[in-house]
Amino acid sequence: MKTLPVRRLLIVLLLSWSLGPLLWQLYTSFSTNEALITPFANIDHRWTLNHYKDVLTGNPPFWRYLINSLIVGTGSTILTLCIATPAAYAITRSRGTITNVAQTMLIVAALFPYVLLFLALLEVARSLHLGNHLLALTIPYAALSQPLAILLLSAAFRDLPIDLEDAARLEGLGLWSRLRWVLIPLIAPATASTAILVFLFAWNEYPIALTWLSDSSLLTLPVAMARIAGSSIYSVPYGAYAAATVLGSIPLIALVLIFQKSIVSGLTSGAVKG
């Protein structure tokens, strides 16, 4: 496109648009309250680590929420994969109407704004006493992740040559052994993309966690952050909040930078093949 300087300008614009709000949070988290209120005045105490100290020594300390989200994210990912992998295989190998019907239904479910389900899910949680159990959250999360997971994994199974499985069958391998030793290892890249997308979803999910969790030491990160906001509409402690944002974002930013390829191929393979 056009000349190089124009492109450079566009790149700078894009990156400042994407990162600007985050960098502002970073700046806020290290600024004293005086510096925040009068950014252009000449004051002595401009920088501070107190916001971080407040957040990390709060009750419960901030890392508690990170651990909660980690538990929910990991649990949901494992449960999702355990259920979606066999289902994806079955959809790939069965022919005709079942596959088509299943696929259409999965796409509809993937499009469904799941926030509308929260009330019914809350009633389920109440009657089965699942509220305030971190691992119980993995059940709705695994269910909500099924459409995406099955679509991605079945696309990967479909790409494997059918001869490969026939050869394994001739060797006398049963269904379970074929899956375990031949097919699942071969779709490892698709499994990795699915896993990271499910993990991100579970880590970030808000409405269900909001209604299922009330014990303040069990909150996941998004709920804990929103609770800081809701505690007082007119004076949110922005400095401490920014420090919490920075601490809460670091794991995700690391995840995105490390698993960039998996995330991109996960998000796009659905688009290209579907």
Binding site: L19, P86, L116, A229
Partner: protein
């Protein structure tokens, strides 16, 4: 073989189908604090109330406005970003990863971040405005402006997703198509209009449809950034359903609002779908 499908099918039925059926049943009952949280059949009173509920229709209008404006902005911006990221330049991979970051962060976290940016009088926007002598800009307390701030926050957060889908589409277009057309002396503009845009259309449709459904169900962003205010001007249908259940403890009516919203979303999807198909037919490609 089909046994392998059973766990997933059961899970999906319990979490997607059962709730919707439950809502249909619940919407035919009065079930609130007034009834002692005991469901009592009320002969469609919930539905009569929904039809004449001004707040419901106002929220429907707001949700529609939010959806249409933010999704169109997102797809346009995503197209520009995808075109930029599709070219070869040093550091492209890193830039692609960095643009993904807003999408990966929890919505609630940055919703509050945006609230801080728009804060009156201490947020950066108003500090800058006061330097220019135009402060205060009461973005989050002016019912006719606040919704634009929520659109901005939504565009910031979800454009990377749409951009990635479009980028995937761009990368399926074979480069010799461009070379062939350029040999005929076509300009870049012609190339874009005659190759890129037509071949990208299915991907644009996909991104549109996905974002349409997600934006229509907007909840996290609005609940945390504005709480639906000021004066319910940014309240979405999902938030209204939530408020009915959790604040007014009127579960029967909340379920009615949810089914109502779901029907409106279906209508919206059908309308945009037939619009896309007609567009496809008129241009006669793909």
């Amino acid at each position: 073989m089909l046994l392998l499908l059973v766990p997933a099918a059961v899970l999906l039925a319990v979490v997607f189908v059962a709730p919707m059926l439950h809502y249909v049943w619940l919407s035919a009952h009065a079930n609130s604090v007034l009834t002692g949280l005991v469901p009592i059949p009320n002969q469609g009173a919930n539905w009569l109330r929904l039809v004449s509920d001004q707040r419901f229709w106002q929220d429907a209008g707001q949700t529609l406005r939010f959806t249409v404006v933010s999704v169109s902005l997102e797809v346009l911006l995503a197209l520009a970003i995808a075109l930029l990221l599709d070219q070869r330049w040093r550091g492209r991979g890193v830039a692609r990863a960095l643009t993904l970051i807003p999408w990966a962060l929890p919505t609630t976290v940055m919703a509050l971040g945006w609230r801080w940016i728009f804060n009156t009088p201490y947020g950066p926007l108003n500090q800058t405005a006061s330097l220019l002598g135009v402060a205060p800009l009461n973005i989050l307390s002016n019912p006719s402006i606040t919704w634009m701030a929520t659109v901005l926050a939504d565009v910031w957060k979800t454009t990377p997703f749409a951009a990635l889908i479009l980028l995937a589409g761009l990368q399926t277009i074979p480069t010799d198509l461009y070379e062939a057309l350029r040999l005929e002396g076509a300009s870049q503009r012609t190339c874009f209009l005659r190759i890129t845009l037509p071949l990208l259309k299915p991907y644009i449709a996909l991104a549109l449809l996905f974002r349409l459904a997600q934006a229509f169900g907007v909840f996290d962003l609005v609940q945390v950034m504005t709480g639906g205010g000021p004066a319910s001007s940014t309240e979405s249908l999902a938030l209204y359903a939530y408020i009915n259940a959790m604040r007014f403890l009127d579960f029967g009516y909340s379920a009615t609002v949810m089914i109502g919203s779901f029907i409106l979303l279906l209508l919206l999807c059908l309308i945009s779908w037939s619009f896309l198909i007609r567009l496809q037919r008129r241009t006669g490609r793909v």
